[in-house]
């Protein structure tokens, strides 16, 4: 099933244009939404998740008109917001049972079975009787994933889910996502480029409420082949280099030297060496191109 967004616009009361005439088609599989803080990722995802109505535009998922018939979408939706709270003094088991009820699982045994399963998937079975409000950040995030799975969703929207997970849980989570996402659409926002590289078959870069680039990770890096150059410089030389080159990123090495990455169709100077393009480069290039021209 395809998620089609057309000419979506949302302006907040304070004048911020969170979504700016945005159109995109997202097919089955993992879709990574990359963007800096404040790019409009959360606004877009909330709008798709029926929690916010746009000023104009349309969203369809398969044959569901999301803005008109939000109930139908909610039936197939799994949504994990960026941050959320839970009812105090309720155990994971009880809370999941509560969400299962909200999601329409009427049979008590079935509810029990699926709650048990999602608890095991998210590695929370041992702590199922503890109050969720007392969970650590990572555990709570996993609880969020658990509740998302309850209605066997066809459209999964997860807003920065890996933030705050330890490496083991992060992998586990990404596996879970990939596994449930085989036959459905998963929209996945992050500012961790790594996640997208490992997981997504499609991706888009969002900034200022607009899609800057809609591509696949392979294609994106493929296009850049032969245009990414790197050299190592001393800390003091950075400013001079900044004037000369279009610098994408600069990272410290252990010895306090800096790795400078530059995007250019030709080798900028002799001391640069060609390197394999990375997704980071794609991201930075897209954002740079979006910067308003300084006159």
């Amino acid at each position: 099933m395809k998620l089609v967004i057309q000419n979506l616009t949302k302006t907040y009361k304070n004048g911020v244009k969170a979504i700016d005439n945005l159109s995109i088609e997202i097919g089955t599989g993992m879709f990574g939404l990359l963007g800096p803080n404040g790019a409009g990722k959360s606004s877009l995802m909330r709008t798709i998740a029926t929690l916010q109505s746009p000023d104009s535009g349309s969203i369809t998922f398969g044959d569901i008109n999301v803005l008109e018939d939000n109930m139908s979408l909610r039936k197939v939706l799994g949504y994990l917001p960026q941050s959320f709270g839970v009812y105090p003094k309720m155990s994971a088991e009880d809370l999941l049972d509560y969400f299962a009820t909200l999601k329409g699982i009427s049979n008590k045994t079935e509810r029990k079975a699926i709650v048990k399963e999602v608890l095991e998937i998210t590695n929370l079975y041992d702590v199922r009787r503890k109050h969720v409000a007392g969970y650590s950040g990572g555990m709570k995030q996993r609880f969020g994933i658990a509740q998302l799975l309850l209605n066997n969703p066809k459209l999964i929207i997860v807003d920065e889910p890996t933030a705050g997970l330890d490496p083991a849980e992060r992998h586990r989570f990404l596996n879970v996502l990939r596994e449930v996402g085989t036959n459905c659409t998963v929209i996945f926002s992050t500012h961790i480029v790594e996640d997208v590289k490992e997981l997504c078959n499609e991706m888009a870069i969002l900034n200022g409420g607009r899609i800057l680039k809609h591509t696949t990770p392979q294609e994106a890096t493929g296009v850049l082949k032969g245009t990414i150059w790197q050299k190592t410089i001393e800390r003091e030389d950075l400013e001079e280099n900044e004037k000369l080159y279009n610098i994408l990123s600069s990272n410290y090495n252990q010895d306090n030297t800096l790795n400078l990455r530059v995007h250019a169709s030709e080798k900028p100077s002799e001391d640069f060496v060609e390197v394999e393009p990375q997704l980071d480069d794609v991201y930075f290039i897209a954002l740079k191109q979006d910067e308003p021209e300084l006159v």
Binding site: F84, V86, N175
Partner: protein
């Protein structure tokens, strides 16, 4: 740093709309209240006529204080929020690592909150200042603006209270980091204050209350409790010892609390938590590192059908319900409510210190105290539930699930209803437990269930619907709660602005009342109004569903457009159905209760009274014939709630002039009037129901005229109870059925300020008894003297119908029972008809048949009542004159008709609530056997009203009510001894002093009283009792006997209080004539107190007691203004160096009791024993005397039994210790 934080806090509030909303609400409320009390709405509703100055210091303090209580509900969200905001926004994680001191932080937070609250308080003052003097208010009700009054009230009372409550709330929120906890604290504190005030309500504990009342009200009441109207109008609130101590105490406590906050507050990241379980520390480690590759979710079915959603709704309501009953606010409110209820159960319902049997309706009545708890819980939890997901920040998870809005919303309503049921069940359980505790095992479960879960519940449910609506719209539970409180408390006040119809006031309408005899009576109007409000509530609920927040709408405009979009399908249809039903039912109710033809507004009513007087007063002295005989036929239909009646009045022209016109003053019932002489109806007034018949052939002196009247009762309608007939326990009197002759002054306006507005002369209410032309009528009726009476009453087969007179014949006809009664003695034109399923207890006593007609289960006090009848018949018969009947009957009637007893000739209807279910404990010294004493009072009326009746002039009730009460007291004294008298007299003194403070027109001396209960009952009984003490009971009774012989059954001119008092004067020695002047002719109060007392043990084993005491007395004029002498130089004065002001007194030549007491063990109980009691002649204010007694004294006293009227009765006695020589 202080100023940075402080300014930041203020800025936060000044940018918040809520702050301006609060300002506006309080400004509006205080403006409305003060303007309304100053007569602003007089143009649209009845005139605010009163002798009160509304902006007197007392008036200002009352309004100011009452409204400030509302502000306390805002404390958690203002003072509490100041610190809570840092936790909520998690700013504290950063802030608390900054380099400012605890003092800076806490003071800035606390005082910024106090400043914001003070600004809101200021808006109250501003609203009052504007409101009282707003153009359109009545200048007669206000005095000049006095800034000091406001300032004093603010500084002495409001500010310390704000600081105290502020400190407590601040402390609670700072430590729990939970704003709800602060909120519970406010409610608990308010309840606790209520409990303190009611537990320490007895006059003896007033010093303690004065100190301990956190609001300082107790301290003010300590001084102002007995302030007369004039004192209330003019005096500043005294800032004397008690007030100062109280304020210092509570300021100290506030400081202490804030100090504790300062001491224990820490810039820590985690809140203080209290746990009752000790948990062992446990090291948490991660164990499962396994990855996951395959996910197979179990196959489950998803069901989004309507029926499933209904089931889900129920399930969700259970989850929310659990959340409520497990939460602290709920538990605390319930606990505090329970305490209040238990206090109430043991306190309320006492009459003269004697409790009432814990019958079920009594238990349910007291459950009413708990209703505040139920409403607060409803208001609060509606908000908590509606916003539950948002508060927990789980709303995004919940809102993205495929659950329809209505399922969520209605599940909240159901959860709220379940909560209400639990609370109602609490009332039932505590009622039953209380009954068991008192050994009362007649549990009427059906009655509990009907009242709690059906009738009361309907009212709570209507509030639940509004609460959900308001809380959904507002989205802030505490603001929502506040708005709901204002709505629920303010709704009845709309009447003062001329909105009188119940259909315009949410959840208003007729109530219900239960009596053991008649059950709930007719409930249809109550149920129809509740249906009406439920329809309104359901319409609001649908609107709430339209506005239900799903996701994150960015503005109210967006919510409106979402609501518009949602208005379709089921919502639209059900809204239209409910709304149309609501409006149609409302219209139908309006047709019956609100149209011009069916409703008289307070304003119209006032104008009619004016018109009545202007139009017909001129006929007041127009000669009319007098009714000499009545023969009535009354058919009561209890099942149909209907009666029809006819009567033949025989009239005689007793004047010496021919009468050409007859004025028939009748009621609005369907009636016919037929005279036996030709006449012409020359004027028919269908508004005042005052018709004038012209007789061409004049009725000559001595001529007889007959009038046949038929009348039918009103019938109950769906929305109105109009018929006086009850299914079981009808009690109607002739004034509500039959016409009278001539103009009646009863309808005239009494307040002189209001009269002036309508250009009416001042109203002196009644002529002075010295006016010999005004003695033609008794105060009972204007158209007759003594009549012959005969009546036939019929009722349903299972009931007994009663009218004054002796039963001549009883028969059954057409399945109905008929009773024919006939009097063989003259009676007043004043009679009643009763009908119910009665049991009868009869006893012959000295040729008099004593009968009690009672409701079958009410057998508890029949013997006491019998005894009361006998003792009273005996006392009156022996001391005054013979009993005029051969029978005396007590007839029970339902409490829904009132809690009183009334005496008709040989017939005394007696409410089930005033004796039949009293729980008299003969062993207790504190309780009066009131079934006995009330019976004695009513029987005494057979003399004092039915033999001796005063003319219709001032002071007439001295001859009836005061005398009946005096007899009742004497009978009680002879039966139970002098000790019981003290309970009775103490009650009477307190009752008199308290009720006279509420006087709205004037208080006259006893012998010229206007008929106020507190004068003729309380003061009357005290005065006559004191007089019997001064001149001796026998001497007094002889004088009264002489008077009785002279005036009983007399024809006009009728006797007056002057004639009565003259008889008393004759029997009073010269030295005591002043007593009569003080007690009957003037309002005289004493200020007696013991200032010092020393006891010395003498060598001969005796004790010398030296008592220093003050005696002073003063007079009050009719407004309560104090004066001492009548002419210059007759005021006594006493002043020592230590005193600021001298003590003044009227001239003294008084005989005052001096008493010395000790305690002795009698039958295991400590009892007071008099060692010395004698009247001493006192001529100066300051006195000292020495008395030698045989035994060791414990206590001394001046007027120790409080026989004299004294506003500070407890300083009349003093405990003493013995010093050895």
């Amino acid at each position: 740093m202080f100023s940075t934080i402080f300014k930041q806090e203020l800025k936060y509030w000044f940018n918040k709309p809520a702050f301006y909303i609060y300002l506006a609400i309080f400004l509006g409320l205080s403006f409305f209240l003060s303007a309304a009390s100053a007569g602003f709405f007089d143009t649209i509703t009845a005139t605010t006529g009163s002798s009160r100055i509304v902006n007197s210091p007392t008036g200002v303090r009352n309004v100011f204080n009452a409204l400030t209580v509302f502000i306390f509900f805002l404390f958690p969200s203002i003072i509490g929020l100041s610190i809570y905001r840092d936790y909520k926004s998690e700013m504290h994680t950063i802030l608390y690592s900054y380099p400012f001191t605890k003092a800076n932080y806490l003071f800035a937070k606390f005082f910024s909150g106090i400043v914001i609250v003070s600004l809101i308080v200021l808006s109250i003052a501003l609203g009052m200042i504007i409101g009282f003097r707003f153009p359109g208010t009545n200048p007669d009700l206000i005095t000049t603006f006095n800034g000091a009054t406001y300032l004093l009230t603010y500084l002495i009372f409001i500010l310390p209270n704000v600081l105290l409550f502020g400190a407590i709330v601040f402390a609670v929120v700072a430590f729990t980091r939970n704003i709800a906890a602060g909120f519970i604290t406010v409610i608990v504190l308010l309840f606790v204050q209520g409990v303190v005030a009611s537990v320490l309500g007895e006059p003896e504990q007033r010093t303690l209350l004065a100190l301990l009342d956190p609001f300082g009200d107790g301290a003010v009441i300590y001084y102002t409790k007995y302030w007369t109207p004039s004192e209330q109008n003019e005096l500043q609130i005294p800032i004397k010892e008690m007030v100062i101590y109280n304020r210092l105490l509570w300021l100290g406590i506030s400081t202490l609390i804030f100090g504790l906050v300062y001491r224990f507050f820490a810039f820590s990241q985690n809140a203080l938590s209290i746990s009752f379980k000790k948990s062992k520390g446990e090291r948490v480690i991660k164990t499962n590192f396994s990855g996951i590759t395959k996910i197979v979710l179990p196959e489950v079915t998803y069901n989004h059908s309507f029926s499933q959603n209904l089931k889900t709704m129920w399930k969700l309501s259970n989850i929310d319900f659990k959340y409520i009953v497990k939460s602290w606010p709920f538990i605390s409110i319930v606990l505090v409510g329970l305490v209040l209820m238990i206090v109430g159960l043991s306190e309320i319902g006492n009459i003269f210190g004697t409790p009432t049997l814990p019958v079920t309706w009594k238990m349910l009545n007291i459950g009413g105290v708990f209703s505040i708890s139920i409403n607060i819980c409803t208001f609060l939890y509606a908000g908590m539930l509606v916003n539950r997901a948002k508060i927990a920040r789980a709303n995004h998870l919940v809102d993205a699930t495929p659950i329809p809005n209505w399922t969520l919303l209605f599940s909240k309503v159901i959860a709220l209803v379940k909560m209400q049921w639990i609370l109602l069940a609490v009332i039932m359980v505590s009622g039953i437990l209380f009954q068991m505790y008192n050994g009362y095992y007649n549990f009427e479960l059906g009655h509990y269930f009907t009242e709690l879960f059906l009738l009361s519940f309907l009212g709570y449910f209507v509030w639940a619907l509004l609460s959900i609506f308001i809380q959904t719209l507002i989205g802030n539970p505490y603001l929502g709660l506040f708005v709901l409180l204002v709505i629920s408390i303010g709704m009845p006040f709309l009447s003062t602005a001329g909105i009188e119809l119940d259909i315009y006031k949410y959840n208003q309408g007729p109530g219900f009342g239960y009596s053991d005899m008649n059950g709930y009576g007719i409930l249809t109007p109550f149920l129809m109004y509740k249906l009406y409000w439920i329809l309104c509530g359901l319409s609001l609920l649908i609107i709430a569903a339209l506005f239900w927040v799903r996701g994150i709408p960015s503005s109210f405009g967006e919510r409106i457009s979402i609501a518009k979009n949602r208005f379709k399908g089921g919502f639209a249809i059900s809204f239209i159905i409910f709304f149309v039903a609501f409006v149609s039912l409302g219209f139908s109710i309006y047709q019956e209760t609100g149209t011009k033809a069916n409703k008289t507004s307070a304003k119209e009513f006032e104008l009619r009274r004016v018109e009545w007087e202007k139009k017909y007063k001129k006929f007041e002295n127009y000669a009319q014939p007098r009714i000499v005989a009545v023969n009535a036929n009354v058919n009561i239909f209890p099942k149909k709630r209907f009666y029809d009646a006819s009567a033949k009045f025989t009239m005689i022209n007793k004047t010496d002039q021919a009468i050409d016109s007859l004025f028939l003053n009748h009621n609005s019932l369907k009636s016919t009037f037929t005279f036996n002489k030709p006449n012409k109806l020359v004027s028919e007034d269908t508004i005042h129901n005052f018709d004038i018949y012209f007789f061409e052939n004049k009725i000559m002196p001595g001529d007889t005229l007959e009038l046949e009247v038929t009348v039918e009762s009103d019938k109950n309608t769906t929305y109105r109870r109009k018929s006086p007939i009850r299914e079981n326990g009808t009690f109607i009197n002739n004034f509500s059925m039959f016409p009278s002759l001539g103009y009646s002054s009863n309808g005239e306006l009494t307040d002189d300020k209001t009269r002036k507005k309508y250009e009416l002369p001042p109203n002196d209410l009644k002529p002075h008894p010295s006016d010999s032309t005004a003695l033609g009528n008794t105060y009972i009726s204007k158209d007759s003297d003594w009549i012959d009476f005969e009546a036939t009453v019929s009722t349903s087969k299972d009931q007994i119908a009663i009218a004054p007179g002796y039963l001549q014949k009883e028969w059954t006809e057409n399945d109905r029972r008929y009773f024919h009664y006939k009097m063989d003695n003259k009676i007043l034109n004043f009679y009643a008809f009763n009908s119910a399923r009665y049991e009868v207890k009869k006893e012959m006593y000295k040729g008099i048949s004593l009968e009690i007609y009672y409701h079958k289960p009410h057998t508890f006090n029949l013997d006491r009542m019998m005894k009361g009848m006998k003792r009273s018949l005996e006392y009156n018969g022996k001391n005054f004159s013979p009993y005029q009947f051969r029978q005396a009957r007590i007839i029970e009637f339902p409490r829904t008709g009132g809690t009183f007893a009334q005496a008709f000739a040989n017939t005394m209807p007696f409410s089930e609530g005033i004796g039949f279910i009293a729980d008299v404990d003969d062993k207790s010294d504190d309780g009066v056997d009131y079934p006995f004493s009330v019976t004695a009072h009513e029987v005494a009326h057979q003399w004092w009203a039915h033999q001796v009746i005063g003319a219709d002039v001032l002071g007439a009730t001295l001859l009836s009510e005061s005398m009946a009460e005096y007899v009742s007291l004497k009978v009680l004294e002879h039966e139970y001894g002098k000790t019981k008298m003290r309970t009775f007299l103490k009650d009477a003194l307190d009752g008199y002093l308290l009720q006279r403070t509420l006087e709205r027109k004037r208080e006259k001396p006893l012998m010229y009283n206007d008929g106020q209960g507190y004068i003729h009952y309380q003061k009357g009984s005290m005065v006559l009792y004191a007089l019997s003490d001064y001149i001796g009971e026998e001497n007094l009774n002889n004088a009264i006997q002489k008077f009785t012989k002279k005036v009983r059954f007399q024809n006009p001119p009728y006797t007056t209080s002057i004639e009565f008092v003259n008889h008393l004067k004759e029997a009073t020695p010269d030295s005591l004539q002043y007593v009569i002047k003080d007690m009957f002719e003037t309002i005289t109060l004493y200020k007696n107190r013991v200032t010092d007392a020393k006891v010395t043990a003498l060598d001969n084993g005796k004790f010398e007691v030296e008592i220093d005491f003050e005696v002073a007395k003063y007079r009050n004029d009719e407004k309560g203004k104090r004066y001492y002498g009548e002419k210059v130089g007759d005021t006594l004065s006493y002043k020592t160096d230590k005193m600021n002001k001298p003590i003044l007194s009227s001239l003294l030549n008084d005989y005052i009791d001096i008493g010395i007491f000790t305690e002795k063990e009698v039958d295991g109980k400590k009892e007071e024993v008099e060692l010395y009691l004698k009247k001493h002649k006192i001529t100066s204010i300051n006195n000292s005397i020495k008395i030698i007694v045989d035994e060791k004294p414990m206590e001394v006293g001046v007027d120790p039994y409080n026989k004299l009227i004294d506003t500070q009765s407890e300083d009349n006695r003093r405990k003493v210790d013995v010093t050895n020589k």
